[in-house]
Symmetry: C2
Subunit: 413 residues, 2 copies
C-alpha cells in the first residue's frame, strides 16, 4: 500500500514555517507498514489542490492532507475537496457541538464564521477534533482514500494517532505489525552494527532492524511483519539489549532526562549540576520535564574560574596546575555542588565547546565529565567534534547517561 502526504498552506511556500507535520506523519505511516512515496507542499490555491489530487490519485492508495481547514477566507481545503468529490457541505451537528464546546470553554462568544466550521461534506466520514474547531474528513473513491486533517501540529497528531490510523488499519490496510524500539546513548551506529552483526544477520525475513540516529543518541527499531509474534520481537530485542546493555536507557518513546527523573523519584534521591562548557543545557533538559522540581535542586553554572573557586570550592592551585578542563577540576566541581546543595548526586562538566579555545593537547571538543554520588566520583574525558552546538548536546546527554549507568542502575540493584 502506497501513500502520499499533501501539506497545504501559503506559509509553507514562503518558508515562514518548517513543515514538521509531514515527517511525523511519514514516520507513523511507516510504522504501520504504509510506504510514503511522495510528500508535496502547495499553497492555498484551489486549482493547485485539484490538480495535485488528480495526479496523486493515479499513483497512490492513500492521500493524507493537512492544512487549510481554518475559519478564514484563505482556508479553502474543505470547499475544494467537497467540489472535487462532487459533494456538498451540510451542517454536521457533532462538529458544530464541538465548536460550541471549545468556545464555551474559552469563555468566548461564537460568531457566524465559527458556526460555518460545523459545515462538512455530506458523504465524507468526519473526525471530531478534540483539540480545535476544524473537523477532519475522510473521502473514499474507487478504493482510494483521501484524509484531510487540520494543520496545527498537536491537533493533527491527536487525530492521526487516535482516529485516522486506527480507522485505516482496521478498514483498509489490515496489517500485523509489531514494533519495539531500543533507545541508546553513547554508542555509534557502526559500533552497534559490529557488536550485533550476528544477531542482525540471523533475523528472519519478516523482522527488520532500522538504525535511527540523532545528535548524541541512537534508536534501534525492530519491526515484525505478518506472522511475526510479539514474543519473537521481544526475544530479539532482549538479545540486542544484552549485547549493548550499558548504553540502553529505555524503550519506545522514552527520553533520557525523563528516565533519569523517574529513577531519581523511585529512589527518593536528588540531583544537582555544575556546568561549565554545557552552559546550562543539562539544567534545561532536566527542568524541561514537568515535576522536576521534586528531585532537581539546581545548578551552579561556573563559566568563570572565579565562580568555580568561590562558589564550588574548586582549588585555585588545581586550576593553575591542570587547567579548568581537567579531571581534578571537574571532580571538585561535582563534589562542590553536591556539598552546597546537599543533593544525593551531582553532575559536572568542563570542556572546550569551540569554535575557539582549543590547544594541541586539549583540542576543541575535549570535555571532562564527572558524576558524584555518596559512594564516590566517576570521571572521564571525551573528544567530541568541532561544532559548538553539537558538542553542548553530546556532552549533556553523555553526562546524564553516566549518571544513569554508573549510579542509578547500580543503586537500583
Amino acid at each position: 500500500m502506497k501513500a502520499a502526504i499533501l501539506t497545504i498552506g501559503d506559509e509553507l511556500l514562503i518558508g515562514q514555517v518548517v513543515d514538521t507535520n509531514s515527517s511525523w506523519m511519514a514516520q507513523q505511516l511507516n510504522f504501520v507498514g504504509i510506504r510514503v512515496s511522495e510528500k508535496v507542499s502547495i499553497g492555498d490555491d484551489a486549482s493547485a489542490i485539484t490538480k495535485t489530487l488528480k495526479r496523486l490519485l493515479n499513483e497512490v492508495d492513500f492521500i493524507f492532507i493537512t492544512g487549510g481547514l481554518g475559519p478564514t477566507k484563505d482556508d479553502i481545503t474543505k470547499h475544494t475537496l467537497a467540489a472535487f468529490f462532487g459533494d456538498t457541505l451540510v451542517m454536521h451537528e457533532p462538529s458544530l457541538e464541538n465548536v460550541k464546546r471549545i468556545f464555551k470553554n474559552a469563555g468566548r462568544e461564537i460568531n457566524r464564521v465559527n458556526i460555518q466550521q460545523g459545515m462538512q461534506p455530506s458523504k465524507a466520514g468526519i473526525f471530531i477534533n478534540h483539540n480545535g474547531t476544524a473537523s477532519g474528513m475522510c473521502f473514499e473513491n474507487d478504493n482510494k482514500v483521501v484524509v484531510s486533517m487540520p494543520g496545527v501540529p498537536f491537533e493533527m497528531k491527536a487525530m492521526m494517532l487516535h482516529q485516522v490510523i486506527p480507522m485505516i488499519t482496521q478498514r483498509f490496510h489490515k496489517v500485523n505489525i509489531i514494533h519495539k524500539t531500543i533507545c541508546t546513548q553513547g554508542i555509534g551506529e557502526s559500533f552497534v552494527a559490529e557488536k550485533i552483526e550476528d544477531i542482525e544477520s540471523s533475523l528472519p525475513e519478516n523482522i527488520q532492524l532500522a538504525y535511527l540516529p540523532s545528535v548524541g543518541q541512537l534508536k534501534l527499531r525492530l519491526s515484525g511483519y505478518g506472522s511475526a509474534t510479539e514474543k519473537e520481537i521481544n526475544a530479539y530485542a532482549n538479545k540486542i539489549t544484552e549485547r549493548i546493555s550499558e548504553n540502553v536507557f529505555g524503550f519506545g518513546e522514552d527520553i533520557l532526562e525523563e528516565v533519569i527523573g523517574r529513577l531519581l523519584k523511585q529512589e527518593g534521591k536528588t540531583l544537582s549540576t555544575a556546568e561549565s562548557c554545557t552552559g546550562g543545557y543539562i539544567a534545561h533538559l532536566i527542568t524541561s520535564i514537568p515535576g522536576s522540581s521534586s528531585y532537581y535542586k539546581g545548578s551552579v553554572i561556573a563559566y568563570s574560574n572565579d565562580i568555580k573557586i568561590k562558589q564550588l570550592g574548586v582549588n585555585e592551585q588545581a586550576i593553575e596546575e591542570f587547567g579548568a578542563v581537567s579531571k581534578q577540576v571537574v571532580e571538585q566541581m561535582a563534589a562542590g555542588v553536591m556539598k552546597i546543595t546537599g543533593s544525593d548526586f551531582a553532575i559536572a562538566t568542563s570542556g572546550i565547546a569551540g569554535p575557539d579555545g582549543g590547544s594541541p593537547e586539549k583540542p576543541v571538543g575535549t570535555v571532562w565529565i564527572a558524576v558524584a554520588g555518596k559512594s564516590g566520583i566517576f570521571s572521564k574525558d571525551f573528544k567530541f567534534g568541532d561544532n559548538r552546538e553539537r558538542n553542548i548536546v553530546r556532552a549533556s546527554l553523555t553526562a546524564l547517561s553516566i549518571l544513569r549507568r554508573k549510579f542509578l542502575i547500580t543503586a537500583k540493584e
Copy 2:
C-alpha cells in the same frame, strides 16, 4: 518567475529526518522575489526523479534540487540528471581537486569511490562545494533552469547563498528587491499592527510589510520591489522602529542573545544569571554564542528554595511571606548572584512554568523577572500561557530583552 523545490532522499519518506532545507530555500528564494509554487520530496529512485522533473519543467521556471549527491550507491541524482538531459559524466578537474583537498585536510586516504565524485555532467555549470565533496550542478534547457545541490544543510546553504542565488539573480532573474527586517521582542502581532496601522496603510504598492512571528519574538520584514529605493525602505523602517523602539533589538539576522553579548563586550561589562523557572535556558542561550565566556560569569540555577537561601542569600522570611514567585524574592536573587559573581549585571527569574504548581492568585504562566545593575534593580511580573516549553522560552527572551532595554541601551547613551 516561479520555482519548485525538489528534495530527494529515502530518509525523508520514512520520517527519519525533518526536511529543514526546503523551508530555508523557500525563504531565500522569496527574498529575491522568486515565488515557490510547490515543494516535493521523493525517494532515491530514478524513475520518480525523472517523472517529477518532467512534470515540474512544465509548470515552473526554476527547479532547485537537494540530496542524492553522496558517493554511495543509493545516491543517484547526478547520474539521473545527466541521463535526463542527455549528457554524460566527465572528469571535472576543479571538483576532483576539491575532493582531494578535503581528504588531505582530514588526513584521510582517498579511494576509488571518492575519485568518482570528481565526475560531473559535461554540459552543466558546476558549483564547487567548499564544505564537502559533492559539487553542485546547473542545467539550462529551453529557458528553464535546474540546479542540483548537496542535501547536507550547511553545505547546501553556503552554496545557495554564495553561488546559486547570485548566479540566478545575475543571469536569469534580474530583480531589484530590497529587504529590511526589524527584530522585536515583547510585543505581539496585533499590538504592532494597531500601533503602526497608519504607517502600514501609507505604504506604496511596491513596498510590502510581512509579520514573521515565532515564540517570544516577532520580525517585521519590509520588501521593496521594482523602483523602490533603499532610502525609501529605510525611511519606513525608521518610522516603524520609532513607534515601537522599546521592543526593537536589532535588524536583519540579529539574534537577541548575540546582540546582548555585543553590547556587553562594547561596554566591557559582565553578566550573571539566577534562574528558577527558566531552569538554565537563559544560561544556555547566552553560552550558545561563541566567545560568551568573555562576558558571562555564570549562573546559579536555584530550583530549590534551599539554594535560593544558601547560595543566593535570599531572605527565608521573604520566601515564607511572599512566596518564591514574588517581586521580593526575584530581586534578592538578582542582587545575590551579582554579589557572589561580582558581575556588572544580573538577571533573575522565578515563576510557575507548569503544567502543575499554579494557584488562583498565581496561575501557571506567572513569572517574576528582575534585572539588576550597579544603578539599581528593575522587576516586573508577567502572565505567559499554560505551555511549559513556551513559558520557559518566553520568560528567557523577555528577561534578556529587559536587560537590553533598561540597562544596556541606557548605559550606551
